[in-house]
Symmetry: D4
Subunit: 255 residues, 8 copies
């Protein structure tokens, strides 16, 4: 529940459109909905601005269904990440609002309207075609949080001319998400070319001495360029979230 | 050189106050000053907004002196990090503007005027007294880039009531820098309590299985809280820089 | 066999209710039952107070069946951990006393009666819903050893208010088991809030740089809070056992 | 400050032996003494039963002196660990109560009276002569917290007959601290022989593939014996603290 | 081919029982049989005393069949390790001499006659029931190389009395193979009790911080007992081979 | 000794200018000079084209002196790497031919004449000023082996325009040595821009999660660009040697 | 597209055999073909001499098909690595030119004619039969780039006489690719025996402490022999590419 | 004390040459001499055949002196390893029998007479000159235990012809100790050439990715040759001890 939803309940009770029982019923799950196996933080939208996001990997169909059902009842946008198609199939009857995006492996509902043209935007830049899923997870996350996003994919440093051809688009962003596996060099190159924060996302793309993304992670942490901070391996969601927080400040600046 | 300095030269030449030889002399080191052993990126202030920062660790006195001398001649604020007192003694005669801060181990000159009261600020929060030097490096960096900074130190999670007593100050910031060694839990707790980006800095404080800060680094990368991104171990400068980029956007918003 | 069982045999022989052959037959497996592929330590209950516990992972159905059969014949409570449902199905005909708990993945028999209300208890606290299985393994283990247990789940540090709402229950315990994956910060926060020992259990919950629970393990070993000791990754059994040993002393104190 | 000290102040004010100004002055540092560079948690004795302990390694003489001075003024036992002799020399003039123990590298003051003969005790057992300093840190810590301690040193598993000669003493303890470097096998052997909790302390004793104590740490975490939990490498203090918490429960039981 | 087989060919040609063509045909694969994808070292029995041993894991059925066929044609004992039952099924028609042992996962043929009673023997000692397969691989290997072997299983250090009950058998051996996973402490304890070489074999038995046997491997390399050397994780074959070389010298001594 | 030197001795003996004793004396150290503590491979120049190179780090003054003395007596160019100035001072009286270069930390004698202008050359490219010593070691090595070398320093990827300004020089080389610490991205960028082999040298420049050059090493091994192979951390000598072997083939091509 | 193909288009338009529309159509994908999910670098053949190579692992059938279709339309040799047979089956209808080699797991088309007899060649040397696939990937890559290749397999250092029997063939090469898993010693031995560059390829062959090829990788990076550089674990393609670049220079030399 | 010494005491008392008091005084330290900080295992010579060996690194002068004094009084050979010259100077007045060997860093007394010519011997083989100290520690250890030793140094695999020139000497040994740093390939090559056990000793010689000997350790554990077992990094003593145990059996064989 966010501020608007809580206000509605209070106003409804004050003006009589909502009787006490109904108001209490709607507040029952606030600030925490106890599902037995989980406690949903329903105060979160009020406290940090975004509702709770569901990480689907490893969740049983039963648990996932119970959580999504409750979140749908609370209103507001819904985002579930690392979702397999089978998981989506097991919950899709909950609401016609639910949709599945195989590229980013996300289940979403009530996607906010995109911001008006000319709004500040986040640039999500990815090094290789194999980084696509992680980059898309970042992009979908940011869009679910109401941000504008531009994507620039397959511009790894081994063919750096490809990056330069799209540099104007990247330089126009208010924050850059740079996604790369293997040697993870893209954020270092990008951060030297832009004057906004770069959020680096190492991916587990690679083999042998990439050690599941460790090589890219270490490279990004040791970037010789200033203005780079790093999230966990394959954590597109975390990068999209952090970029949305940063872009939010830019949005207020231009609003 | 930043935009203002380049404009001055061009205008001076146009209005005759600067003859061609003088104008060229002043542009000689633009966009790159070649010292033989190093190439100073004098276009950087123009390109990314801040001048080049000097990392002193491991530099010989001769190299350090040559670099600082050239940067002083270019004008603008000067920041040198990881500087020992002996290094400062070997260069202090270059200019009376140079000063040394042992707490942050920085050499600075021409520190910008602080922003007006009520400006957006960065909160630099540190877990233990041993994290002081890294936190101060972040704070000094941000102040050199013109940001307002509030510091909250020694509020580690083992005595979490100490953190809560200062929570209002932290919540008022436009970005949080969270510095911690050992188990590195501070950023996770903080990010759950604020609605702005948290830049986490692991420190090498600890012993045994801290493995020089690796434990704190891994903890921060695996934060269960959203809104955390991470810089290298002990990289107070990098966090201060990233926070300054983010706060800059908030500053524009309120300006 | 524990002290009571051995006494019964000796008394039975002394008072004539047991002839020599029967007494020897019952003592045949004492202090060690040799199954060829394994030696059951039947003196263990006598020596350390608890009978041997069976670790099922990797055991063939034949081996598991032979071990459980012998342990059932020895009397006393029976606990088998890391058991898959198929493993249970392959042994369930051995005795109607056997039951399976999918949440903790345990097979048990002859669960001791719970201690009287008001007895000292162990608090098993878990950070996330994904830590459920490990936490339940700890809880079941402690209950099989005759301890009272209270569980508090899904109270990770990213939403620390959830933890505080249940703090009184946790503070009332005589020992705390703190279960967490990802950044593993829960034990540090808890140990600063209670005055009893905290047994920390890292879990393999996480991805990327969690390296299978290594991040949480290192965080717990480096806890800035005093009063934390740590068991192996996912070792709910070990934590439940250690907590039971500690709580046993508290039980004697209040008995 | 502990409960007794706070009561004294309150009673003194109530019965007039302390005027308001004096009472407030004595309460000024409660619950937190702000030294600028550090915040001393003066409520800690009240909250968890022991006053704050000072970790000296890496602290400047000035900081160490300021902290000890304040702690001495607060009353109660004082323990400072990982202290070099030079550090002690720089503070010894603060009070004649301070003394230095080179074996454990501790500075102490106001050591509590030992508990009466026959009290429950902690057994501190060490594998090799090189583990002496860590074991002594555990023993001194426990004694400072009012526990009885028996030490058994140089009983490593390569000459296991030496351990067996002292087994009765170890078995009589209410908790065992087992200290070992190199292969770290002592806790596994001990825990199979006793029926009380074993706190294992890996030490950095060794070379080559001991990797600074990592080998011993991993061995202890993987102990095949139940009833073992582990603290950080060389963390004698942490083991002594945890053992004191556990022994405290046993003390109540026999009190 | 060993010395005896080569002599037979030469003698056969000399005495006319073998014509030149037949002699050459039998020598065709000496000292190397080229199978295209592999070169069999047929001189090995002559050079180091044992024929080449086949490591089956990862080999295709076709390759395995071709290699075993050639080795069978060369005569002498045959040993293939890490063989799945399906691999055995795919080659069993090659010769009625081939047999499969699921415990050690070996395929063998022409097992040498056991040495006479009273011969020096190798003691293969294993800590847990899960170490069975690796220990049996060592035992089968040694028997294939003509050594006598005694096995003592499930005598881990957590119940050290079990080990002591079998100590006389172990002490009578001319070399000890000590197999253990988890904390890998068995070789340290054993080597302190015997006066012959101990070959330590870490196994991948364990979970969490055992890191696939790394914990046991490090423990064994750091053994505080003298007289221990170590082979790769799960390398029962290597230990059996090394023990056979050592025992061979003892055999000559008593022969 | 190389082919020319051996021929001289043989011819001298044949034409009588050298008597048998003198010829044998000169051949005494061929193909191996036994210094007791070391065996110099005097056949090496004949076998692989370059004489033996001395690695000074960790060598006592006595050993170093003995080795250099013998190598000087054998004739041909002399290269000693990782030499401290004190080591040079302890041997400089051996010959006026010896000289010391502090930048590359090398001792050399009889440096070959540089190849004629227009010869194929090796480009040694370094990312930062701190990589200077390693890059110079590569350059000196190559020059000692008779190659032409061009150096391009301080062109790291965070300011990629600096690299592009010198790209023509780099593209003209017949092999590129790319030296970088921190995130180690330079070789990936370079290899995408040139059509000759790139030899990548990670350096230990960095701190925290650079882990002594491990981050750069992993990045280079995982390069997304083709045409990169890697040598050990800080191994400027190895890169210079490998580049010399490669450039030698190009030299023959254009000769 | 390479120089020849671009020239054909330009000439065709100049001489009228190609009208403007057709010329533009053929140039449409130059210098980059945008497939949406990927950008093919069609200028690459012109820039570095070889067309882009496709890494099949992890690619969906749809993506792989689209990429191969476009590359086939561009002309020139085609190489796709790490391809499963199923992947080949899903694209084989694209062109009768496509063929699949299960040994090297490559899909190829338009393999260049082999160079004339007596041309310089690359020696691909492998230690064990299990290294076959990686070695063949290197060999196929080099042949696709027009190089002559000789292979020498199963010559690991444990039977070093097998290597010496083929030494003349290896010494005749202009560059050596040395492939080995387990202890990775082959490149060190080889590089001491030849006077040309050795490209070392560690493989993931092994178990236990080979850690997926890490042991071999470290061994190769630490080679005591000069003239060794290393590629990623199992990166046969990378070694074949690097060797082709080097051999290309030798080819020019002899051409 | 060994069997002979104990027998002397008993016989002396029996035949009256020793009175009861003297006999008891001489037995006072048997089977354990308690020095307070250490317990000397005086039964060890009786139990395993060799007296206790002293590891000097990290021992204070006082402790070392006390231990050596007691061991000298017990009679029999004395060996102290990892001893600095200063340590020797601090104890040399204890007995004129003590001598110091800087090459192996050992203090010894009462070195046993060498075995008669033609006795079985141990071959200690080292790869590089930097491995000298570790190899000598192995050789001195074996000689102190009464074994004959032949040393072959500086025969690393990069110049494998040097090894072959001394192969007959190595092949004649009854056990081989193979010492190597860097890539650690020597044991693999050796074990393929001999038919006796090879004890491999990795050394910390190297830099960069040798990680303090880890590279050599892993290589040796992964040896593709059979008959190799491994001791800790730099553990020359351990290898010498293990080799002495093995050679002892060979000695009995030929005795």
């Amino acid at each position: 529940m966010d501020e608007r939803m809580l206000s509605e309940i209070l106003e409804g009770y004050k003006d009589g459109s909502l009787d006490l029982g109904s108001a209490l019923a709607r507040l029952e799950d606030y600030p925490e909905a106890d599902l037995g196996f989980a406690r949903l933080d329903t105060q979160r939208a009020f406290r940090v601005g975004f509702p709770e996001v569901v990480y689907c990997a490893g969740k049983s169909d039963g648990h996932l269904r119970a959580i999504l059902e409750r979140l749908l009842s609370l209103g507001g946008p819904l985002l579930a990440t690392r979702a397999g198609r089978e998981q989506f199939e097991s919950v899709r009857d909950l609401s016609p609002e639910l949709s599945y995006d195989p590229g980013s492996r996300t289940i979403t509902a009530r996607r906010p309207a995109p911001p008006p043209a000319g709004s500040p935007y986040i640039a999500v830049v990815a090094a290789g075609t194999s980084d696509y899923a992680v980059a898309e997870e970042a992009a979908v996350t940011a869009r679910m949080f109401g941000r504008a996003v531009e994507t620039v994919y397959d511009v790894g440093v081994a063919g750096i001319h490809r990056l330069f051809r799209r540099l104007d688009l990247i330089r126009g962003a208010s924050v850059v998400v740079a996604v790369a596996g293997m040697e993870g060099a893209l954020p270092s190159v990008l951060a030297g070319l832009v004057s906004v924060p770069t959020i680096a996302v190492p991916t587990s793309v690679g083999y042998g001495a990439s050690f599941g993304g460790l090589a890219a992670l270490l490279a990004m942490l040791n970037s010789c360029a200033s203005g780079v901070s790093v999230v966990n391996i394959d954590n597109g969601y975390g990068a999209g979230y952090q970029a949305s927080l940063i872009a939010g400040q830019a949005s207020r600046a231009t609003g």
